[in-house]
């Protein structure tokens, strides 16, 4: 992967971490939230977005004509957002590992993450939780 593609992926990855915290706070998704308070999630999201956009667009090379074409952008965005989601779910599960699982009646879907971490949800699915 060339340097520009790597920088683009890093930019998208950090920005996605921020957006995921906004989504977690707005939709009360415990399993996606890295922080105990909504305010901290919004603060983290703001910092992640300001830092990632500020860093990426501060370089003049960003104005050179397409170093990545549309398909490459689409692919790298997809991969980076998946990595950001995986890291967020893993970190949230690790940070809340000692928190007891709250009972939920939802059998599946994102609403399960309003009560459980991703790891707790997977354990419940396998009958371990």
């Amino acid at each position: 992967m060339d340097r520009f593609a790597l920088e683009y992926s890093l930019f998208v990855f950090v920005a996605c971490l921020g957006v995921l915290q906004i989504a977690a706070a707005r939709n009360r998704l415990e399993g996606l939230s890295l922080f105990p308070r909504q305010g901290w999630s919004y603060l983290f999201a703001t910092l992640a977005l300001v830092f990632s956009f500020g860093w990426f667009f501060s370089s003049q090379s960003r104005y050179q004509s397409p170093l990545l074409d549309g398909w490459e952008q689409l692919l790298l965005f997809g991969l980076s957002s998946l990595f950001a989601l995986a890291l967020t779910l893993a970190l949230a599960s690790a940070l809340k590992a000692n928190k007891p699982a709250t009972p939920t009646t939802s059998p599946d879907g994102l609403e399960v993450l309003q009560k459980l971490t991703y790891l707790q949800a997977l354990r419940r699915k396998r009958g371990l939780g």
Partner: protein
């Protein structure tokens, strides 16, 4: 002088007069700012919704938009391969604020992408979609301002984006049960 060139000259003639406006237009006309920003909106939309039904509606809109983006990009690649239109700066001296792109001018890829986001979301979320038409129009104007596209390039890009978005919106139900199966799998994985 053609109408195309006259309109281009009006927009491009503003470049270089106000440093602040130049910077804003360079940012708006940039290949990465708008696609990444609007993709982040899609990511947020995937997780949003007060109820399961609302969320499913949002997630189907995300499917439709991503499908439209893929098809639009493919079509533009084909169009660029079939027809090469030189950029405005190749014809006459212009105020060029970007390093000169080497690919075909027609149609404007970035404008098409901007209109795919705006129109795809407008079809299912009127308020959000309407709000996104403003950045889409600014991007189109920005591409002329910075000197890399003619008005007909951006108009063609916008029309292409709108047509493909509408087609994909209509096509998505015909792709059943694929979207439903994907959402069902996503729900099983607690991700939809």
């Amino acid at each position: 002088m053609t109408v195309d060139w006259a309109i281009f000259s009006w927009f491009n003639g503003l470049a270089g007069k106000y440093a602040f406006l130049d910077e804003i237009m360079k940012l708006l006309g940039n290949e990465y700012l708008l696609p990444v920003s609007l993709s982040l909106v899609l990511l947020g939309l995937w997780f949003s919704g007060a109820s399961r039904e609302q969320r499913e509606k949002n997630q189907r809109a995300v499917f439709s938009t991503v499908l439209s983006l893929g098809i639009t990009n493919g079509l533009i690649k084909v169009l660029h391969a079939l027809y090469f239109r030189p950029r405005p700066f190749a014809a006459q001296e212009v105020n060029l604020l970007f390093p000169p792109p080497a690919d075909s001018s027609f149609p404007s890829n970035l404008t098409a992408v901007a209109f795919v986001f705006a129109f795809s979301l407008w079809l299912s979320h009127r308020k959000m979609g309407t709000a996104l038409f403003l950045p889409a129009i600014l991007v189109a104007a920005g591409r002329m301002y910075v000197g890399v596209h003619y008005p007909t390039d951006v108009i063609a890009g916008a029309l292409l984006g709108i047509l493909v978005s509408y087609g994909c919106f209509r096509l998505l139900p015909l792709l059943e049960p694929l979207p439903t199966l994907a959402l069902r799998w996503g729900r099983k994985m607690y991700l939809a």
